[in-house]
Amino acid sequence: MSAQIIKHVTAILEEEPIGCEQELEALAKIKKHDEYTYLHSLNVARLAVNLGRKLNLSHAKLIELGWAALLHDLGKLHVPIEVLNKVSKFSPQELEVMQSHPVESLVAYFKHLAFEIRTFDRLSAAFEHHQRYDLKGYPGVKLKISLHPFSRIIAICDTFDAMTTDRIYQRRILPDLALKIMAQGYGTIFDPVVLQAFITSLGAFPVGSLVRLNDEALAIVDHYHKGSALDRPVVKKLPFPGAKEIDLSSTEFNHLRILRSEFPEDHGIEIRN
């Protein structure tokens, strides 16, 4: 078993994945099949578990949510790599294959993992994460039952990560902009309660964002004070070091506001987590 995968999973779940050999092997298969899907799965799990923690979920549910997110794209093992990584427009057949991955997750689950009660929750997330909150997504289903709560969380984290990750054919979308776009799926594509919780948990400008203030200065979002407005974080003006912390939620800085976020690399800045 890859030590690297164990390390990644441990960091997300905050506990060693003991007794999860089959799950780890399934992840290793994803990694071998397509590195992007593997990294995307890690990101989605990280976002989902973080949201779960903010929601004070029980430890057992957090771990389950983490695994459901880590394996939500297991069905992509059945999608040929040339289709997965295609840069140009999909043919109708390729799109069909691509969109079959939630359904293919069924066989993938039974092929790679032992059948247990928790399989249902994980499988539901893998099957439903593109179905939309209003069930108008894919795969279409005859039996209209509301999405599993895991699916509702993972759908949001999946979209957010897909939007904010660079692809060969598309530059990533800045996180604050991604959240604004996702807000347009409020109550249709996404569960409004979960979306609201997700945005609240990240802030309108997620920590680490490079932002332009209305005094033209560039700053990095450092943290949020509990209860502050989502667009009023504590920022540190550039250049570092010696940058002064500015608490935009304080009345002292009422005159300042964030205009927009910008790509750090456009300014030769590297932001590390």
């Binding site: 066989v107 092929k111 593109h130 039952i145 347009q184």
Partner: protein, 424 residues
Amino acid sequence: MSPQKLTSVIESENHFLRLKLVEAKLVHASGDQSDVSLDELWPTLNFLKALGFREILFRRPTTDHVNKWMGRLESYQQLFIQDPEYAGAGEFVWNELDPESETPLVECFRANAEPSTQPFEETVQVIELSLGPVPPMMSNLSVDEQALKGFINELEADNLDDSLGRFASIFEEYRAMQGLHLPEDSGSIVASVICFALENKKIDRARSLVQANEKILEDTFKDPHWLIRLLEIYEPKTTEIQGWSEIFKLLPTPQILDLIESQTGTKAARQLVKLMSIRVSREHEELIALCLKLPPTQQKILLQWLSPHWRPKYYPQLWIQLEHALQSTDLELIQLWMQALLRCYSAQALEDLKNYFYPVSFWKRLFSKNSSKVEAQARLLNALNENRSTEILKFLKDIRPYVRGKSAHQVEKLIGSFKERKAS
């Protein structure tokens, strides 16, 4: 500004509108610029900005043109949000063209494209747009505590019924997608879930899974390993037997009979007995027809259930079965057919049985094997001994004068024991 203010801004700018998306600035005809909020102007502008557009030009767009353009872009945005990786951005049409001249009325410029310098015609159009729901980024940035609590409760609760319903739905889609080319292990997948449902007392769910997947499960139900697992996993209560038995409706009766024999004393055999009882109560006509065709080992098991269901109409078939059985040494089988025959039409049966004991004509005697007749008499008397009644006592007395040798001794003994029992 109120949300979706774009149309009124177009109007106020005499339909000459230039929007810088990156800087969120409105360029006036004079060349002056003013700050705007894309969220308030029209939230979908963020989508355009995110995809790398830096500027939008509006040239004489009518209400219809703008509505059409906005509607189209909003639908693109929904597709994109639903699946950002694979929404066919290559297929999206960003500009709104004049249908006659095919010149752009609304033109979107990417970061590396130069905006057109074509002058704008100034006409006034009032465009009314309905307001959509207020998204969370523009509402009070807090979470509805009550709704959130409801979601967390839903998440923490393990609703097995929902999970099983979801599986049924997932499998239905899978089956539809695969058509006739289902993998070999499909039956095992469904059987695993049925076992799981039964283990958790979800009989209705298990039954509906069987109903929906009958064809897939055909081979699985022929596999003794799966069958025994499915049988042993749940012991139905009396009130549940009816519904539970439908889970096994694909199981052929001869297979049940074989299993009852091979699994004697096990939990599975107990369940099989329940299954047979309910099946006989519902389908005794069919099972009687089946019984007449089965091999003796299976007949012996099935006959035990059929006893209450024999009617005079079956008499000729039962008589044939008894005569056939009499040629064997299987006393249990003879006894069971005798019992069936007596249940079916006892007066006629006893009348016909007398022929086995009455003297035969010279010609018949000539062509019959005497020893086999004596053996048949002994087997019949043994079988009658197990079905004692006044009618049988009378029968024994009736044949008494005609029997000889070993059979006569047996008849006397039977009459004696009948009387003894009556006296006691």
